[in-house]
């Protein structure tokens, strides 16, 4: 789960990481008031789950409160990579001497949280990493023991020469580690970590991603989720416990298992079609899940055919069949449905479908080809 910059700031402030003053606004009037309180020039930053905000016009400088209101009015409501901006962050336009990068990520390879720091921070950090990897200093941390003070200090020495700044950065690195652990993060990033002309070290921008698996026992973190920052159909799917990603094609896909769902999309493409979505109904699929899946897919006007691809293991294919029948009774599905199911309770599933005049295929390639054909005819 991605957090907004302003939410990440709150979590980092809570562990004591020093930051520039600033606050979040939902209206131009609020932005103006924050700018007045801060005084001087401010930066208005769009709060959306997308990179490249600056290039999209979502980050603007305002020299006074009136300009802050004007810029906020421009940014609020604008769309960046398909996401509408509902909030802006207002921060002082600080004078900056240096920009560094401090990132902490749960790494697959070492299976540990790994720090990555670089004195060459800023928006081009990925280019720095690709072209001059020696400028990135890495340190894996054993989570059983935690981050030792000397480790934090060694990372800070990679950033600064001035010992006062080194000590300040080391403290912030320890605090970042604590925020990472306390909030079940998969990623915590300060980019840039800046120094001011008068020598202070501060976090200018922050990013935190929470491990979704933590949310089950951390409802407090779940409250940070911003539904309005997601594609509406994806938010609806998540509430229905479905894993769903909207795409641009016209073949709606309902599949059990993420790997098979991706392979199904690939096969749609292979046979000349375009998938309308990724949708994994998961292992134990109740009829209710199937109904919700169909609701979400049929809400997309681009969908011209729906393909079910179910390989029953834990998933009982008769549950899926019951869900399809119940859904088509609840609401009219206007596009053709192609059903492929095989595995657990297959005979019963086919009987359920046949009773209402529906049929099922057992071969994945045949089903995909038929769905692609029907979508083409319906387009």
């Amino acid at each position: 789960m991605n957090l907004h910059e302003y939410q990440a700031r709150t979590l980092l402030k809570a562990v004591g990481i020093p930051m520039f003053d600033g606050d979040v606004a939902s209206t131009p009037t609020e932005a103006e008031a924050i700018a007045r309180r801060i005084g001087g020039s401010v930066v208005i930053k769009a709060q959306v789950h997308s990179g490249g905000r600056g290039k999209a016009g979502g980050v603007k400088l305002a020299r006074n409160p009136g300009e802050a209101a004007d810029e906020a009015a421009q940014i609020l409501g604008m769309t960046i990579k398909g996401l509408t901006v509902h909030k802006v962050l207002v921060v002082p336009a600080a004078e900056i001497a240096t920009e560094s990068y401090v990132g902490l990520i749960m790494d697959r390879e070492t299976q540990r949280p790994v720090f990555m720091v670089s004195s060459a921070g800023g928006v081009d950090i990925e280019e720095v990493a690709a072209k001059t990897p020696e400028k990135i200093v890495r340190l894996p941390v054993d989570p059983t023991y935690g981050l030792y003070p000397h480790q934090a200090l060694s990372l800070a020495f990679a950033l600064y020469r001035d010992f006062a700044q080194v000590k300040a950065a080391a403290k912030m690195i320890e605090q970042l580690y604590r925020a990472f652990i306390d909030n079940g993060a998969a990623l915590a990033e300060i980019n840039p970590l800046v120094t001011t002309p008068d020598g202070r070290v501060l976090a200018l921008d922050a990013k935190i991603v929470i491990d979704d698996n933590e949310l089950f026992w951390r409802p407090d973190l779940g409250l940070l989720r911003d539904d309005s920052a997601e594609e509406p159909s994806e938010a609806a799917a998540r509430r229905a416990n479905l894993s769903f990603i909207k795409l641009d094609g016209n073949v709606g896909c309902v599949v059990n298992g993420a790997g098979l769902a991706m392979a199904t999309m690939d096969l749609v493409k292979y046979y000349g079609g375009e998938p309308a979505n990724f949708l994994d109904i998961g292992g134990s699929s109740s009829p209710e899940k199937v109904i919700n899946a169909l609701k979400i897919i049929t809400a997309d006007p681009h969908v011209k055919a729906i393909l079910f691809n179910i390989f029953g293991g834990i998933t009982r294919t008769d549950d899926v069949a019951n869900g399809i029948v119940a859904a088509t009774r609840q609401f009219k599905v206007k596009v053709p449905i192609v059903i492929r199911l095989t595995g657990t309770n297959e005979a019963e599933a086919i009987r359920i479908l046949n009773e209402v005049g529906m049929t099922a295929l057992s071969d994945m390639d045949e089903a995909v080809q038929r769905a692609v054909q029907l979508a083409r005819e319906g387009a």
Binding site: G51, Y101, G103, L104, I105, M106, D107, R108, E109, Q111, R112, P113, V114, M116, I125, E126, A129, A130, P133, D142, P143, T144, I181, G184, A186, L187, E189, N191, V209, D211, N213, E214, F216, W217, I245, L247, N256, G257, A258, G259, L260, M262, A263, M265, D266, L267, V268, K269, Y270, P275, F278, G283, F311, G313, T315, T342, G343, T344, M364, D365
Partner: protein
């Protein structure tokens, strides 16, 4: 022979009295797996379906039954602790089926598992099955598998079933099928399984099913090029998956890779791995390998 699971497997099921655990305990016993014990704290002394003794701890189960393999159906919040318990009890092979374990829990569990010299398969995986000895550890449907000489390793669940089903329906049996799981931190990776299949005298060819994300498949491809003499057939799911779902800058920096299908397929190609464009292609590609002089 086979890898990891065979006739010598003596299985203890952690969470045997739970909803998932009891259902799959029945399925595993029915398939022929030698299930010697179950563990549910507080239910020690009971018997599961009149057949399997239940213990309070894995250590008790090991003492009483000489169990040598554990499978875990414990809910997510206690699953990493269950992994640690089995490793601590001296179980050399631990298979964790549970989905949804916080990654931080696994990050703490893995060093412990290694310190005990144990192997973990999973978590968030379908487990493994050796049809030749009728040994099933996990949830792979037994009826789609058949005994033979092709080894299969996969990051996926149902996609594995799809491929195994094609094999069985076309008369190609399997030595062992292993689902290694899709979580960021897993105990056994592609390379571990490739090395085991390469060393197994009863495996003639290997099928490898990967997905987008991470660099495991690329590392495995490099391993195939250097160390694997048996033919390998590979698939990558997610060629049409949307790009740009990314985790800050750190995700790209740490791996130096975006984990795309193109990148993985290129690595396969460079390693001489035959690429399946569709799941069904596994049949013709293995047939081709057989005609080139390899028995399958």
């Amino acid at each position: 022979m086979s890898i990891f699971a065979d006739a010598a497997t003596r299985l203890v099921i952690q969470g045997i009295t739970g909803r998932e655990g009891s259902f799959h305990a029945r399925q595993m016993i029915e398939y022929g797996t030698n299930v010697v014990a179950g563990v549910t704290p507080g239910k020690g002394g009971q018997t599961f379906e009149g057949k399997v003794p239940v213990f309070n701890t894995v250590a008790d189960a090991v003492r009483a039954t000489a169990a040598n393999t554990a499978v875990i159906y414990v809910p997510p919040m206690g699953a990493a602790a269950a992994v640690i318990e089995s490793a601590d009890a001296g179980i050399p092979l631990v298979v964790c089926i549970t989905e949804g374990i916080p990654v931080m829990h696994m990050s703490r569990a893995m060093p412990f598992v290694r310190s005990r010299g144990a192997r973990l398969i999973g978590p968030n995986c379908p487990g493994l099955i050796t049809p030749g000895s009728r040994t099933k550890i996990g949830i792979i449907p037994g009826n789609i598998c058949s005994a033979g000489r092709v080894g299969l390793v996969s990051r996926s669940g149902t996609l594995t079933y799809e491929v195994v089903n094609h094999l069985t329906r076309n008369g190609i049996g399997q030595s062992t099928c292993v689902g290694i799981g899709g979580d960021p931190i897993i105990g056994t990776n592609f390379i571990d399984c490739l090395a085991a299949f390469e060393a197994d005298p009863e495996t003639d060819a290997i099928v490898m099913i990967g997905e987008i994300g991470g660099t495991d498949e690329q590392n495995a491809a490099a391993f195939v090029r250097e160390k694997v003499t048996k033919p390998v057939v590979g698939f990558i799911a997610g060629q049409t998956a949307p790009k740009g779902r990314r985790m800050g800058h750190a995700g790209a920096i740490i791996s130096g890779s975006s984990g795309t299908a193109e990148e993985k397929l290129a690595a396969f190609e460079a390693a001489g791995i035959e690429i399946m464009r569709r799941p069904v292609d596994v049949v013709t590609l293995l047939e081709k390998a057989r005609q080139n002089g390899v028995k399958t």
